[in-house]
């Protein structure tokens, strides 16, 4: 990545931020930064884009408290670090930045979560993206199989065409961390829909059963909570190739959240929901009703599961009839099930029976 306007704009924004803190101290005030509260209580549905974004509630990160003061100090160090990287035309992974902070004395991060969070804070405050700061995530290894042709600019700067069914092995096409236009373009596609799958086991099952070919589907492995690039990839594929999207996960409260962040926008990255969320994505299952209808093998909900379900009941993203019903039902039966539990009826059951039934029900296949 060369320095360009995006980076220069980022430097301006970051310098302004430091300037605010400087002016506060210079005028004898307690330095503080105002940041939108990143809580489920502060996300609002944006009818224009059909996704959930941060609301107007702001929190003050002030130097009155030790953690606040530390975060402000870290912010200053991080600003300096980012500006230096842009100046020197370097970039770093989030993990590298976490390790860089080892040399920041009292500004040292104690976990990588902290440094990742601060990077997101800066995105929100400056309305830049972390790529503008020359920060990138680790490759996260999510994969794609299906009849889609992509043109990727490889590391030598050459354009390379890849068909995600014919040019890849069984593990599929690995989604890179940068999926913007400057890196990949969608050239061609012969599929009817995208199916995003939570677990590697199920992804491999659908691959082995040739579900992509038989049902004209693009299979995307989410690897748990999907990374930004995975969500962005799905969104672009959906918009540019006009493919409907559906999510196929385990049947537990955590999987509901995977669908929510893919379809409605994640609380943590609500400032980017417009870029990352695919509001028309549909949830296939496993639903609580599936557990009953398909008589799936189950586990009992543990305390954390129950707490998570109850938290979802006050999460505005789940505030519709479908989710209310499913969440209440899961609490009532006190059970959860894995997507691979469908193997109870044989290895082909999921592709021969379950998915066709559910997809037809949703009108995705006719």
């Amino acid at each position: 990545m060369k320095n360009n306007e995006r980076h220069l704009r980022a430097v301006d924004r970051l310098t302004d931020l430091a300037g605010e803190v400087y002016d506060q101290i210079d005028s004898g005030k307690i330095p503080k930064m105002m940041i939108p509260l990143r809580t489920k209580g502060n996300i609002r549905f944006d009818p224009k884009s059909n996704v959930w974004k941060y609301g107007k509630a702001m929190g003050a990160r002030t130097a009155k408290k030790l953690t606040g003061a530390q975060m402000l100090l870290r912010t200053m160090y991080m600003l300096e670090f980012i500006e230096d990287m842009i100046k020197d035309n370097k970039s770093s992974t989030l993990r590298e930045m976490y390790y860089i902070s080892e040399g920041w004395a009292k500004a040292k991060f104690s976990t990588q979560d902290e440094s990742n969070m601060l990077a997101e804070d800066l995105e929100i405050i400056t309305t830049c993206m972390r790529e503008d700061f020359k920060l990138r995530p680790e490759e996260d290894g999510a994969r794609v199989i299906g009849n889609v042709t992509i043109q990727e600019i490889d590391r030598k700067g050459k354009k390379k065409k890849i068909n995600c069914r014919d040019d890849v092995g069984d593990s599929g096409y690995g989604i890179p961390y940068n999926v913007e236009k400057e890196k990949i373009e969608f050239i061609d596609c012969d599929a009817d829909f995208i199916i995003a799958i939570e677990t590697g086991g199920m992804f491999d099952r659908l691959v082995e059963n040739k579900f992509d070919e038989d049902s004209h589907a693009v299979l995307v492995h989410l690897k748990g909570q999907p990374a930004r690039s995975t969500r962005r990839f799905i969104k672009r594929l959906h918009e540019e190739m006009k493919l409907p999207v559906c999510t196929f996960t385990d049947g537990d409260p955590w999987s509901f959240r995977i669908h929510a962040s893919l379809a409605y926008g994640a609380i943590k990255t609500a400032h980017l929901s417009e870029l990352l969320a695919t509001p028309t994505a549909e949830f296939i299952g496993i639903t609580a009703s599936d557990i009953l209808n398909y008589e799936l093998p189950t586990d009992k909900l543990n305390d954390k599961d129950i707490a998570a379900l109850n938290a979802e009941k006050t999460d505005p993203r789940f505030n519709d009839e479908f989710w209310k019903q499913e969440i209440d039902l899961m609490l009532e039966i006190n059970k959860k099930a894995e997507q691979q539990a469908l193997a109870k009826y044989g290895l082909d059951y999921v592709t021969d029976k379950y998915l066709p039934e559910k997809l037809t029900e949703m009108g995705i296949i006719k």
Binding site: I25, G28, A63, L66, G68, L72, M76, E114, K268
Partner: protein, 662 residues
């Protein structure tokens, strides 16, 4: 029939002392090889310390353990006590149940006259070797030396060899024995035992030469002898029937009333007559003619008559100062955070025996945090090494809810966890042990209750300290913000925007808006250096009165730049600090000369003439300081702080809220 009787008679033989010993090894403390070695050292050390104290000599002991072969060790214990006259040496060391203690009621380590003779017997049974004793009393020119064995059939000493030798000691005794044993280090080792001895006998110097050769010296922590303990007559409440009968038989008194008055404590003639009357025994009856029934009646009468509690000056507690000294001395290089001022309770009585309980607690610092607290048990200044669970001391510790006092404890009972050492000392004219090996104090309700009370009392002091530390910790956090973080933010932000580093005074006073006082004591070159730093983190200049509890005559006047305005009772000192500007750091410092290190290890600092709400780090002058004109200076309230915008929410840094998705 008679032949059968003769047959039986052949089998009926006298049970020898040695057989008795063999059967009762455990209660005597010889049940394992490791323990046998410790017991051997312990009995000899007990004897030596008792002897030194009897003669008011500061004990100087040498304990040497040498490996002879496989399981055989040579133990030598040498003291600087008064020595033993030649005639008595064999009886003291090689005759069971012989000694000066059994018939007296006084706080002694040895009580029964079994100890050291049992060691001699154990030695000869396991190695076949005799004990070697050398003793010199101060009016003799030479020392008497002999080799002894115990004739186990007759319970008499046999002198195998004796001689007079030149010995460079003025007086003292050396005892040497070969025993079968096993030398270990760590818990329940001779080293730990001697360390315990050193804690509760801070007046003793103990040199230990272990088999591996690295000599350890436990130096004396005080030159002060424990006050000599008085012998007392038995208190009537604890007397048992047989004891009363035998006392009556051997008394020199001719009348019942004078017998009761002479042989018991706290029985006046008036009380004696009252007892006789209640028991239906003639006051002038001859005591040696006392019948079993009459004796029983007298015991009953004693219970009904009001008798004063036994006198208690026969006890020798270690005392608060010396417990603290002993603990510090023995912790050596390990730095603890806090020594709770030790508690010495008032004497109490069980079954006619006075007793006293003492407790000391050391907390924090470099002590181990993950393990159960270390318990140091002592009875009459003797460390108890074994049978911890059976001991009333342990049981009392387990019964206290330590969670209230800042230690971890599962379910509020059992031995607590945390970085602490709990020391308990029980002193009595008669310690009720669970067995003859004297390793555990019996669970007598009166004693256990006293221990619990003492523990709680001491633990409250610990809790007070912990509370204070927590309060200071909170303030320290803010201190870190203004001292370290704000300057760094100022510097970094200045660098990014390319401007000079801004003045942070305004920001600092807004964050703190208090006067922060931090005091410290350090000891170096025989001087206490005392420093009180006053950080005025308010936007205005401040004046205040600072009060300290310090012995004024010990202050090195040269070091004292600011003279106090008042000195009361020699140690209540007041300074008037007239003007400390906003964000100024003012230091009041001086040295103390000629105060022993452990006598001053924490400052007592108070303030007055300032709004107490604006001061952190020290307490407001308590009412009992008794100062006149104690009032807060008239000063307008500080202008209210700009507390952010109306209804501003703090950004939650816990990160949990936003992470709950994954």
């Amino acid at each position: 029939m008679s032949s059968i009787a003769h047959e039986l008679a052949k089998k009926q033989k006298e049970i020898s002392v040695s057989e008795f010993f063999e059967k009762n090894k455990q209660i005597l403390g010889f049940d394992s090889l490791t323990r046998a070695l410790i017991t051997s050292v312990k009995e000899a050390v007990d004897n030596s310390l008792d002897a030194c104290e009897d003669a008011s000599v500061l004990p100087d002991l040498m304990v040497k353990v040498e490996k002879v072969e496989n399981n055989e060790y040579r133990v030598t214990v040498e003291d600087n006590g008064p020595g033993i006259v030649k005639k008595q040496v064999p009886n003291v060391f090689a005759r069971l149940l012989y000694g000066s203690r059994f018939h007296t009621r006084a706080q002694r380590r040895g009580q029964q006259g079994i100890g050291v003779s049992a060691v001699v017997m154990y030695g000869q049974l396991t190695t076949g070797k005799a004990a070697k004793v050398r003793s010199k009393i101060s009016d003799e020119d030479v020392a008497y030396e002999c080799e002894l064995i115990l004739d186990t059939k007759k319970n008499r000493p046999d002198i195998i060899k004796e001689d007079f030798v030149i010995w460079d000691r003025v007086h003292g005794t050396s005892f040497q024995i070969h025993v079968k044993g096993k030398y270990i280090t760590g818990k329940q080792s001779i080293f730990e035992y001697l360390k315990g001895v050193a804690i509760v006998n801070p007046h003793a110097k103990i040199t230990f030469v272990p088999p591996e050769g690295n000599t350890v010296v436990f130096e004396r922590a005080t030159e002060q002898m424990p006050p000599p303990t008085k012998e007392i007559k038995p208190h009537p409440e604890g007397v048992e029937l047989g004891e009363l009968l035998s006392m009556a038989k051997y008394t020199e008194s001719l009348k019942m009333t004078s017998f009761l008055n002479n042989e018991f404590s706290r029985i006046s003639y008036r009380v004696a007559r009252e007892i006789c009357e209640l028991a239906g025994v003639a006051p002038d009856a001859r005591p040696d003619k006392l019948s079993l029934e009459e004796a029983g009646a007298i015991l009953e009468a004693i219970k009904k008559v009001k008798i004063m509690a036994p006198e208690t000056d026969c006890l020798s507690p270690i005392g608060e100062t010396l417990i603290r000294k002993g603990l510090k001395n023995v912790l050596g290089g390990l730095k603890a955070e806090f020594y709770a001022p030790p508690i010495t309770r008032e004497p109490k009585v069980f079954a006619g025996n006075p007793f006293i309980v003492e407790v000391g607690i050391v907390y924090g610092g470099e002590l181990c945090k993950e393990e159960p607290v270390q318990i140091l048990r002592f009875a009459n200044r003797v460390p108890l090494m074994y049978q911890q669970g059976a001991c009333a001391i342990t049981q009392a510790i387990e019964a206290v809810d330590w969670r209230r006092y800042g230690l971890e404890q599962r379910g509020g009972q059992g031995i607590p966890f945390g970085p602490a050492i709990v020391l308990v000392h029980v002193a009595s004219t008669k310690i009720p042990f669970t067995s003859e090996s004297k390793e555990a104090v019996a669970n007598i309700p009166e004693i256990k209750e006293e221990i619990e009370l003492a523990l709680k009392h001491c633990a409250r002091r610990l809790k007070t300290h912990l509370n204070k530390a927590a309060k200071k910790g909170k303030a320290k956090v803010k201190f870190e913000i203004v001292q370290d973080i704000i300057p760094m933010i100022a510097e970094k932000s200045a660098k990014i925007v390319g401007k000079p580093v801004p003045d942070i005074a305004g920001t600092i006073t807004k964050i703190m808006n208090v006067v922060w006082i931090d005091d410290s004591v350090t000891f170096e070159k025989k001087k206490h250096h005392i420093s009180v730093k006053i950080f005025n983190y308010t936007p205005k200049s401040k004046a205040l009165h600072l009060h300290m509890l310090v012995p004024y005559d010990k202050i090195d006047q040269k070091s004292l730049e600011v003279k106090p305005i008042e000195i009361r009772e020699g140690n209540k000192i007041t300074w008037d600090l007239k003007r400390i500007s906003s964000t100024e750091v003012y230091e009041l410092a001086f040295d103390l000369v000629g105060v022993p290190q452990e006598q001053y290890d924490d400052n007592e600092v108070y303030v007055s003439h300032i709004d107490p709400a604006s001061v952190i780090g020290v307490e407001v002058l308590p009412g009992d300081w008794d100062l006149e004109h104690l009032k807060i200076t008239e000063e307008g309230p500080d202008e209210p702080l700009e507390e952010g915008e109306e209804g501003e929410v703090d950004y939650d840094e816990s990160a949990e809220v936003v992470k709950n998705e994954e």
